[in-house]
């Protein structure tokens, strides 16, 4: 039995690599199905703009190969995803997920958006998760909540959407009264739009591939926001002050050819383009246009990272909570493993006892029924005495989060079958 995580994140892979690994919700089931076919008792795929991670319960040996093959295929060419990846097992894997959900492992320390992303990953992967990962992800969400409520790790404005506001505020004297154009209807765009609106920015247009979704967001924002399709949006680059883009398009939709002629009509007025898309929605060449300031998700996260510096002093308290919760989970997990193992040990020993008693009693056929019962009783008492200390030790170890290690020793000493082989 084991828990494992394999993946890449913002520390191990650059944006252009992470873009290729990022999974749309619709792709999760197929990818999980493929890697779980190599053998595991459950899997969850967590894919955000900063990380793509596969969590497994009891993975077979071929699972890791399957994951890296899958990711290498998405990378294309002859590149190997392993060079960007990492693998963690057991307590380290649990600790990793808890650190992710609490924002300790985020590019922006304490970022709260990851909490929702962990929840989404769990929801989407539920049919494949299995009981152990189900419990693990539930507890990860609780750990995230606990860290945020008991420490100052989530204070301040260190998220990418709030960084979008900070960047725009370095271009415009006042954000109040500025007009914004929203491209795409992703959660990130909606979140950033809400941040901008709270600063007094007027969202004049929401454009999306599907008009209905654009209209739903426009109605949610109110204030006379118009809904358009993407093809109708380009003209508005001439008038908007801020463009916020977060489409689900697999390639850049804001291209030089589409917007350069329109931007030329701005007479030098600055245009702030915030590209929150993954993959990026805006062609990098657009940044070369005069008075156009283009920022992608990495830029915004770099800005937010500065705010996160303030949060660093709360890291020890957050790590302490994570440590406590890892112990708690591991105790549960250890107990989960120990109970059936103890039963198996007792059954095995009882079989031996019973066989030996039967053999002895066959040789002592002259004994009275009372004597035979006494011998039977004696053998059971002896077995109980023998098993008492190991049972207590194993339960104590499980409660202390060391059950898994003790169990391995027990299996080796008594030649117990592995549960997964049963």
């Amino acid at each position: 039995m084991s828990i494992a995580v394999l993946g890449v994140n913002h520390r191990t892979a650059p944006l252009e690599v992470r873009e290729r690994f990022a999974h749309d919700r619709r792709e999760v089931a197929a990818s999980l199905g493929r890697v779980l076919a190599a053998g595991a008792r459950g899997g969850v795929l967590l894919s955000t703009c900063n990380r793509t991670e596969f969590y497994f319960a009891e993975p077979a040996e071929g699972v890791a190969e399957s994951v890296w093959d899958l990711l290498s295929e998405r990378l294309g060419g002859s590149r190997d995803a392993r060079e960007y990846g990492y693998t963690q097992h057991d307590r380290d894997a649990v600790r990793h997920l808890y650190r992710v959900s609490s924002g300790l492992d985020a590019m922006i320390l304490g970022e709260s958006q990851i909490q929702g992303q962990v929840r989404d990953a769990w929801e989407v992967s539920k049919p494949h998760a299995g009981p152990v990962l189900h419990r693990l992800f539930q507890s990860a969400l609780l750990v995230g909540s606990r860290v945020r409520s008991e420490t100052g790790l989530a204070t301040g404005t260190a998220s990418a959407p709030s960084a979008a506001v900070a960047v725009a505020a370095r271009i415009f004297t006042q954000l109040a009264g500025r007009s914004a154009l929203i491209l795409g209807a992703g959660d990130m765009a909606e979140l950033a739009a809400t941040c901008l609106v709270s600063e007094g920015v007027r969202v004049s247009v929401v454009a999306n591939r599907t008009y209905e979704r654009a209209r739903a967001i426009a109605e949610g924002l109110g204030g006379g926001t118009r809904a358009l399709t993407l093809d109708e949006a380009w003209e508005h680059f001439a008038t908007a002050d801020i463009v916020l883009s977060s489409t689900a398009a697999p390639h850049a939709v804001v291209t030089w050819d589409r917007v350069a002629p329109v931007v030329a009509r701005r007479r030098g007025r600055p245009l702030c383009i915030l590209d929150l898309g993954m993959p990026r929605d805006v062609e990098p060449a657009v940044a070369q246009l005069e008075n156009v300031f283009l920022y992608d998700i990495d830029d915004l996260q770099a800005v937010a990272a500065q705010a996160a510096a303030e949060r660093r002093r709360d890291i020890p308290a957050a790590e302490r909570i994570v440590g406590e919760e890892v112990d708690r989970f591991w105790a549960w997990y250890g107990g989960l493993v120990v109970v059936p193992a103890l039963k198996e040990l007792r059954d095995r020993m009882d079989q031996v006892r019973s066989a030996e008693v039967d053999r002895v009693l066959r040789r002592l056929a002259h004994l009275s029924p009372d004597d035979r019962a006494e011998i039977e009783h004696f053998s059971q008492a002896l077995l109980n005495k023998f098993l008492h200390s190991p049972t207590l030790a194993l339960k104590a170890a499980a409660q202390a989060g060391r059950g898994y290690g003790m169990l391995e020793a027990l299996k080796r000493l008594f030649g117990l079958d592995r549960r997964d082989d049963a």
Binding site: A169, R170, G268, R269, P270, E290, N291, D299, V303, Q306
Partner: protein, 267 residues
């Protein structure tokens, strides 16, 4: 005693410059009352010292006055535009100008403080004061333009270091540049008119170099204002125009000073 207020001023200006520069070195920024209070106390001490230099004989009082106006404009920029980063330029510049004035000699031979100061009409003193104020405004426009270009470069290059964090927004710097030019032009116009009045009225001798420099400053500033107001230049182009204008005025001044050296005239 004109030197002591000047020494106090130069010390406080140096401190103000250090306070303005400290956050760029990663140090904690000074509290706002301290950041504003230190230059204000320096301005008061400086004003006391400068009034004792009337009727402003020689170049040293002019340098001192320019420093004073720069610091006043810095305080105004900070108060009105929250543009404390202006102090990054004005602090060291004012410190240098006052220091240079002290080194040159605040009261040159035959000037104030020697008991032999020749008379200078009130119109002449007003001409000098207004001219230096106009020049200080042109300098402020230059500083705002320089800050704009630095911030522009950082924003374009997606660098989010001290300039990004500590400089004002681009648009505010553009507005500051615009205001400095728009207020500076009538000020310089008035200075030129006063200069002609002083020369024609015979209140003070005015040589050709002063006329050339005064007219050139007026024309250049007029051009910078013209492209902003009439041709609606803004942002980077307007910033380049301001920098070119100030550089031209400065280079012509240096050229004229080399052609006719001396510390007697205010030019």
């Amino acid at each position: 005693m004109v030197i002591i207020p000047h020494l106090i001023a130069v010390g406080l200006y140096a401190l103000a410059a250090a306070l303005a520069l400290a956050p760029f070195a990663g140090m904690r920024p000074a509290s706002r009352p301290v950041a504003i209070g230190v230059p204000l106390v320096g301005i008061m001490a400086h004003a006391v010292g400068l009034t004792r230099l009337t009727p402003f004989h020689g170049v040293a009082p002019t340098l001192s006055m320019l420093a004073l106006f720069l610091m006043i404009l810095q305080a105004a920029s900070d108060g009105l535009f929250r543009a404390s980063a202006v102090g990054v330029f004005t602090g060291p510049l004012a410190t240098g100008l006052v220091g240079l004035a002290i080194l040159i000699g605040l009261a040159p031979e035959g000037g104030a403080g020697t008991g032999q100061a020749p008379g200078r009409s009130a119109w002449s003193i007003l001409h000098i004061t207004v001219s230096v104020l106009g020049l200080a405004m042109l300098a402020l426009a230059f500083i705002a333009a320089a800050l704009y270009l630095l911030q522009f470069r950082e924003l374009k290059a997606r660098r989010f270091g001290p300039v990004f964090r500590l400089f004002p927004p681009l648009e505010r710097l553009d507005q500051l540049n615009h205001l400095a030019l728009v207020l500076g032009f009538p000020t310089v116009t008035l200075a030129v008119l006063l200069g002609f009045g002083v020369r024609d009225g015979g209140a003070a001798p005015v040589d050709a170099a002063q006329v050339v420099w005064g007219m050139l400053t007026w024309v250049v500033l007029g051009w910078a204002v013209g492209v902003r107001v009439v041709r609606h230049w803004a942002g980077r182009r307007a910033a380049f125009a301001s920098i070119a204008s100030f550089t031209a005025v400065l280079l012509v001044y240096v050229a004229l000073k080399l052609a006719a050296p001396g510390t007697q005239r205010f030019l």
